[in-house]
């Protein structure tokens, strides 16, 4: 388990590039995450979900975000 102080999302991206990061007390401006407290990080999103289930109970809110870039200009048809 890892828990750090409040970090900006830019700092989180630098520390954990191209990883899924479970962030407690995340702050969003509109839909853009600004930062929060890193609880877990890793390449396996599902593993973080299972490992993080108990951790998130200690916080009011949390989110799971990816620090890498998604393909740009991809056309989406859901």
């Amino acid at each position: 388990m890892e828990e750090t102080a409040l970090l900006s999302f830019e700092e989180i991206k630098m520390l954990y590039p191209n990883e899924w990061v479970l962030i407690a007390e995340p702050e969003f401006v509109n839909t853009e995450i600004q930062g929060g407290i890193v609880l877990l990080h890793g390449k396996d999103r599902r593993e973080i979900a299972y490992s993080g289930r108990d951790l998130v109970k200690n916080y009011e809110s949390y989110t799971l975000r990816f620090t890498g870039d998604f393909p740009k200009n991809r056309r989406i048809w859901l």
Binding site: R45, A49, G52, E60, S61, Y62, N73
Partner: protein, 131 residues
Amino acid sequence: MALKIPFKRANEGSLIVVEGKLDGGKLLLAFDTGATHTILDLTAVLLAGYSFKQIKRTAQFVAASGIVEAQIFVIENFSAMGIERRNFEVSVYDFMSHKFVLDIDGVIGLDFFDDEKVCIDFEKQELTVHL
């Protein structure tokens, strides 16, 4: 009461994305008038503490990739766009294992809306929800 929700479409590949909340989990959700039902990624639902034992049933969906099967869960507290739903049935699909990789945790479909009036202003990039 009218709630104004700004959205930003950075380019033509951008969806209209809004914040949602699944119990304590903050989600990014695509606002999709082309979806009949609300669909969440399995990971987000597992992280919120739900388990496979809580699957109510399965349902088939017509998706861009063909017919897919999703699991139906009853979510205790689900909210987005100023609208709160309790014991709300959502469809759950494993996005990642089907190579559906986007920076969203799901899709808000038409079933989320009841008697609300929702307006999309593309010029102002703003959703207005009349609650």
